[in-house]
C-alpha cells in the first residue's frame, strides 16, 4: 500500500492523540500547529505525485479491489486534501489567539485534528461504506467542537445540527446497504460498472435519490439547509471558520463523486433535479443573507447560496461546467474560511457580531478593512479576484448549452451577494461606532495580532494569486473535470487495466 495516500489521513489522527495527551499544557496547542504543518507537507507530496502520475490508488492491507478498501487520489481528491491542510494550518494558528485553556482542556485541539483527519479520509477513500465511516468520524468531531464553548446558543444550534445530520447519516447508510444488496459491491469504481449493468434501473435511481438526500443535507442544499444558519454562528469563531470552509464542501464533494462516477445512467432525471435544487439553493441562500443583521449569519447564508453554484456546475454535467464546479469549490473554501476569520477579529475588536451595534473599523483598523475587501469582493465575483473566474466559467458553461435562464439567475445571485457584502461593509466598517468606541488592531496583544492576521493575510494572498494568475489553476481544474466526466482513468487505477 502507498504511504503517500495514507499519510494525509494518519498524521491528523496521530496529532489528535498527542494533542489530547498534552491538552492541559500549552504544548497541546503547538502540537496541533506542528501536526498541521506535517499534514500540509504530506498533502503537497500527494498532489505532486498525482500531477506527475495521474490517478493513483492503493489497497489497504493488500486486499485487492473490489474486495478490500481502496484509497484513491485523482486531481479533485488531491486538491481537496491540499486545501484541507491549508485551511487546517490557518485555523490552527488562528485558534491560538481565540481558544483559551478551558476549551483546550476539553480536547479542542484533539477534536480539531480528528475532524481534519475525517475530512481527508472522506476525500481519499474509494469505497462507499468507508466514506460513510469517514462521514461519521468528522460528524462526531464536529459535534464536540460545536458545543465546546458551552454557551446557551451553541447548545441550541447543536440540537438542530445534530438531529438533522443524524437523519442524513441514516439515509446514507440505508442507500449504501441497499446498493450493496442490489449490486454486491461497495467499491466506487466497481459500482460504476455494476450500476450501469444492473437489470433493475428503477431501484438504482431510488438509491441515487437516497444518497442525493443524504449528501444534499450535508451540503446544505435548498430544502435541507435549515441546520446550517441555525448553528454556524453559535460556536467559537475558529470552529465556524473551519466548518464554513470544509464541512458542507465534503457533502458537495460526495455529490460530485457519486453523481459523476456511479449514478450517470439517468442523467435526465437525477441531474435535472440537481439543477432545480441548485438554482433554488442559490436564490434562497442569498435572499436569506439579505435579511440578516449579524456578521456570521450573513456569511452562513452565503455558504448556502455559494453551494448552489457548485451543485449547478455538477448538474449541467458538461466538461466546462464540472470544471467550473471544481474551481468554485477550491476558491470558495479559501474565501469563506477567511471571511469567518475576519468576522472573528471584528468581534474581538468591537465586542459584538451584531452589525447594528458595531462600526468604525475602516477608520480605526484600515488593515482589517483592506483584508476584508479581498475575500468579500472575491465572493461576489469581482474581477480580477478568484471568484470572478469561478462565476465566469459557470455562466459561460450554462450559456454554452443554451441555458440562458440559468446564467441569468447565476448573475442575479452574484448581484445580490454584492448587496449583502456592502451591508457588512457599510455597517461594520464604514459608519462610526454607535457608542463612539475606537477599536484598533493595536488593542490586541502582540502575539494574538499575528496569530490572527497571519492566516488571514495568507488566505487573502492566495485569493489574489488565484485571481491574478488563473491559468494554471483553471488548467488544473480542467484536468480534474476531465477525470470526473470520463472516469476511465479512475476505474483503471482502482481495478487494474484488465477489468475495464
Amino acid at each position: 500500500m502507498s504511504w503517500v495516500l495514507a499519510l494525509p489521513i494518519m498524521i491528523p489522527f496521530v496529532t489528535a492523540v498527542v494533542a489530547f495527551l498534552l491538552r492541559r499544557s500549552r504544548l497541546g496547542d503547538l502540537a496541533s500547529v506542528g501536526g498541521s504543518v506535517a499534514s500540509l507537507v504530506a498533502a503537497v507530496v500527494l498532489i505532486d505525485k498525482v500531477l506527475d502520475q495521474g490517478v493513483i490508488a492503493g489497497q489497504i492491507g493488500g486486499w485487492q479491489a473490489p474486495f478490500g478498501i481502496t484509497l484513491v487520489a485523482d486531481h479533485l481528491s488531491a486538491a481537496m486534501v491540499l486545501i484541507t491542510a491549508i485551511i487546517g494550518l490557518s485555523v490552527a494558528i488562528w485558534s491560538l489567539a481565540e481558544i483559551g485553556p478551558q476549551s483546550a482542556r476539553f480536547g479542542y485541539h484533539a477534536l480539531f485534528q480528528s475532524l481534519l483527519g475525517g475530512v481527508a479520509g472522506a476525500f481519499l477513500t474509494g469505497d462507499l461504506f468507508n466514506l460513510y465511516v469517514w462521514f461519521e468520524v468528522l460528524l462526531i468531531s464536529s459535534f464536540g467542537l460545536l458545543v465546546i464553548g458551552g454557551r446557551q446558543s451553541a447548545i441550541d444550534g447543536a440540537v438542530k445540527y445534530v438531529t438533522l445530520n443524524l437523519i442524513s447519516t441514516v439515509m446514507f447508510l440505508g442507500g449504501a446497504g441497499l446498493l450493496y444488496g442490489a449490486t454486491g459491491t461497495l467499491n466506487m469504481a466497481d459500482l460504476r460498472g455494476a450500476v450501469a449493468t444492473s437489470p433493475d434501473q428503477g431501484l438504482m435511481t431510488l438509491i441515487a435519490m437516497m444518497l442525493m438526500i443524504a449528501f444534499g443535507l450535508k451540503a446544505a442544499v435548498f430544502p435541507l439547509f435549515f441546520w446550517l444558519p441555525a448553528s454556524y454562528h453559535t460556536p467559537h469563531y475558529a470552529v465556524s471558520a473551519l466548518f464554513a470552509g470544509l464541512l458542507t464542501k465534503v457533502g458537495v464533494y460526495a455529490l460530485m463523486r457519486v453523481f459523476t462516477l456511479i449514478f450517470v445512467g439517468d442523467i435526465g432525471y437525477t441531474h435535472e433535479i440537481l439543477l432545480w435544487v441548485s438554482l433554488l439553493t442559490m436564490l434562497t441562500g442569498v435572499l436569506g443573507a439579505a435579511a440578516q443583521g449579524d456578521f456570521r449569519k450573513i456569511l452562513s447564508f452565503h455558504i448556502i447560496s455559494q453551494i448552489g453554484y457548485m451543485v449547478l456546475g455538477l448538474a449541467l454535467m458538461t466538461p466546462l461546467a464540472v470544471m467550473g464546479a471544481v474551481f468554485y469549490l477550491l476558491h470558495h473554501i479559501i474565501v469563506k474560511t477567511n471571511l469567518f476569520l475576519i468576522a472573528g477579529v471584528s468581534r474581538r475588536l468591537t465586542g459584538s457580531s451584531d452589525l447594528y451595534a458595531i462600526g468604525g473599523l475602516y477608520r480605526t483598523a484600515p488593515l482589517l478593512a483592506a483584508l476584508f475587501i479581498i475575500p468579500a469582493f472575491s465572493l461576489a465575483g469581482f474581477p480580477p479576484l478568484s471568484g470572478f473566474w469561478a462565476k465566469f466559467v459557470i455562466v459561460q458553461a450554462s450559456l454554452e448549452i443554451g441555458e440562458g435562464l440559468v446564467a441569468g439567475i447565476a448573475l442575479l445571485v452574484g448581484l445580490l451577494t454584492i448587496f449583502s457584502m456592502t451591508k457588512i461593509w457599510a455597517e461594520a466598517f464604514w459608519k462610526s461606532h454607535p457608542d463612539g468606541r475606537q477599536p484598533t488592531l493595536a488593542d490586541l496583544p502582540r502575539s494574538a495580532r499575528w496569530q490572527m492576521l497571519g492566516p488571514i493575510m495568507m488566505l487573502a494572498a492566495m485569493t489574489v494569486v488565484i485571481g491574478a494568475f488563473p491559468s494554471p489553476f483553471l488548467e488544473f481544474a480542467t484536468r480534474g473535470a476531465e477525470q470526473l466526466v470520463d472516469p476511465a482513468a479512475y476505474v483503471a487505477a482502482v481495478l487494474g487495466e484488465a477489468r475495464q
Partner: protein
C-alpha cells in the same frame, strides 16, 4: 421471512416518522433510534437471508457445494450499530444539557440561536 422483515422495517420507519414529526426532542430521538433500526433490518434482508449456511470455504479453500452465507452485510451492520450507538449517546447527553439549559424539550421554543425578531 424476507416479507416479514420488509413489513417490520416499513413499520419501524413509519413509526419513526410519526415520532420525529413531534416537537419534543426526546420523541425525536426515539424516532431516530427506530429509523436506524428500520434501516438496519432492511440492510440485513437486502444482504440475503441464508439460514444455516456458514460463511466458510472448504478445507482446501474450495467453494462449498451448497449455499454459502455472505458475512459482509452483518459486518456492515455491526459497524453501523456501533457508530449509531456512539452518536445516539452523544445526542442523549446533548438532550440532557438542552433540558438543563432551557428547562423544556420543545424544539419550537428553542429560539436562543435564532430569535424570532432578528433585527430592530
Amino acid at each position: 421471512m424476507e416479507t416479514l422483515l420488509a413489513c417490520l422495517s416499513g413499520f419501524l420507519v413509519a413509526t419513526s416518522v410519526w415520532l420525529m414529526l413531534s416537537g419534543n426532542l426526546m420523541r425525536f430521538l426515539f424516532g431516530l433510534l427506530l429509523l436506524s433500526n428500520g434501516f438496519n433490518l432492511a440492510i440485513l434482508a437486502a444482504g440475503r437471508l441464508t439460514p444455516g449456511a456458514p460463511p466458510l470455504l472448504g478445507a482446501k479453500g474450495e467453494l462449498p457445494a451448497g449455499t454459502m452465507a455472505n458475512a459482509l452485510p452483518q459486518a456492515l451492520l455491526l459497524t453501523a450499530i456501533v457508530i449509531g450507538f456512539g452518536l445516539f449517546a452523544f445526542a442523549l447527553a446533548l438532550t440532557i444539557r438542552a433540558y438543563r439549559t432551557f428547562g423544556h424539550l420543545e424544539v419550537d421554543r428553542m429560539r436562543i440561536a435564532e430569535p424570532a425578531e432578528d433585527r430592530k
